[in-house]
């Protein structure tokens, strides 16, 4: 896919919203694209709300702060509430339906509801919701190759603790699984 894409990834601290954004950005660098990552910062803490803005583009990225996003990934209900109005008309929102039962409010955007926690629990453990969501996002947008993200994961595994590095196979499995949710139409797209 050419052109550019902006995505806001949001959740509560510990769900890996910020890390999912960093993975995306690294993968964009692998593919030689322009990219920026910008986190909510300051008074954030585990359990509190966090989000990051990621831009991926074939051109210079003007502002790393996203006013209206092509895509929002909401990993919990508070994120859905906060960012539903921030999706561009015609864009879409991935909602973690395990943690959000809020009514959707807009008719000019698409919603993809995925029970991320249930799926992650079945597969490994809920800590992987971010990676599964990322897989679904990539399969839907095709903005970057899943392979690029996997390459980043493999590189990162070399620099982290042995305990974290041992989770590499799970991460690789989860990103593929996330993609299959979309490609095999396991949810309404």
């Amino acid at each position: 896919m050419n052109g550019d894409l902006s995505v806001i990834i949001s959740g509560f601290g510990g769900q890996g919203a910020l890390f999912a954004g960093i993975l995306l950005c690294h993968a964009a660098v692998v593919e030689g694209k322009h990219t920026t990552w910008f986190p909510s910062y300051g008074a954030e803490m585990r359990g509190g709300a966090v989000n990051c803005c990621v831009n991926i583009s074939d051109y210079d990225v003007p502002s790393p702060i996203i006013d209206k996003a092509d895509v929002v990934i909401a990993l919990n209900d508070a994120s859905q509430e906060k960012f539903e109005s921030k999706v561009k008309s015609g864009g879409f929102m991935i909602i973690n339906s395990s943690l959000s039962h809020l009514q959707t409010k807009r008719t000019d955007i698409n919603y993809i509801k995925i029970p991320l926690n249930e799926l992650a629990q079945k597969l490994i453990q809920p800590a992987f919701v971010n990676v599964i969501a990322l897989g679904a996002f990539l399969e839907k947008t095709k903005i970057l190759k899943i392979e690029s993200v996997k390459q980043v994961m493999k590189e990162m595994a070399k620099t982290v603790s042995a305990k974290k590095a041992a989770l590499l196979p799970n991460n690789l499995e989860c990103i593929d699984f996330g993609a299959s949710i979309i490609s095999q139409r396991m949810v309404t797209v």
Partner: protein
Amino acid sequence: MAKVLVKGNEAIAQAAINAGCRCYFGYPITPQSEIGEYMGKHLPPMGRVFITAESELASVNMLIGAGTTGTKAMTSSSSCGIALMQEAFSAMCCAQVPGVIVSVMRGGPGLGNIAPAQGDYFQALKGGGNGDYKIIVLSPSTVQEAIDLTYRAFHLALKYRNPVMLLADGVLGQMMEPAEFGEYPYKDPDVTQWALDGADNREPRNIVSLHMPEGEMEMLTNKIFEKYEQIAKNETTYEDYLLSDAKLVLTAFGSVARVAKAAVKKARDNGMKVGLFRPVTLFPFPDKDLHETAVKTDMILDVELNKGQMLLDVRSAVFGACPVEFYGRPAGGLLTPDMIYKKITELYSKLENTEAGVK
């Protein structure tokens, strides 16, 4: 060397290390705390000095101490923390002590908020310290430029024996984007002719900012201002983006300039002759170049994330050569390419209507 994905604050810290920064003194404050965190992790294992000072006032006075020995040193803070350091900047200019200060602007006035802002242009350029003095101020607009200008800050501080400030903001400090470190590209001057190094087998030296004898202060200030003239002559830098045929020229600095650039590009795509003049050095301000640009264009639009601060320097440089408009928002506000583009179209159609009226 390949590009790496790096956070602005960490890029500045790593660039400082590459530049040979031997001492870092700081006190944490959002949105720049990662600089101290990074330095704390990396400097001690290299045998260099990292101190979490008891206050900003302490940090900057430690910076003076390191500077008097000709040692490359740095402190960093944000808006209200930089406010506390102003007295020392004045003293450093008077005593001609080198040092690098990183200011990552947040919202103000007061303790303000932690959102990105550009409200400290006056603080950096017009200073809260006493007396006739100027600090060199460099304004990066990308993470790559934050690295390049950190290198330059260390070099200029030693070259001119003057404090140098890298003026960034919360956007640049917190964002990640791909950048390349390369190597420290400068050859620094010899400091042994003036630095305090123990007076072994030589006359004692005294680096002070108190000059009581009649005439001494005036003579020194004149000498220091001759130095500032040299700095203006040698170091003035700005970016010219599509200026040559522009009928409307935007002026912007720092992270806002990249947003303005996107708006200018969109205007060009829609057939409007618009350009961007981006000062990279805020002191020395590129006033001659901006004046020449103003003579050739029909209007200037200054865009800032404040209530109009660089605006004064822009107006002063333009000196009536063309009308100057301002568009900005204070702390907590956000400027998007579309917002700036809307302002451009509004002003541009005014220009075209005036032209049609004249014909």
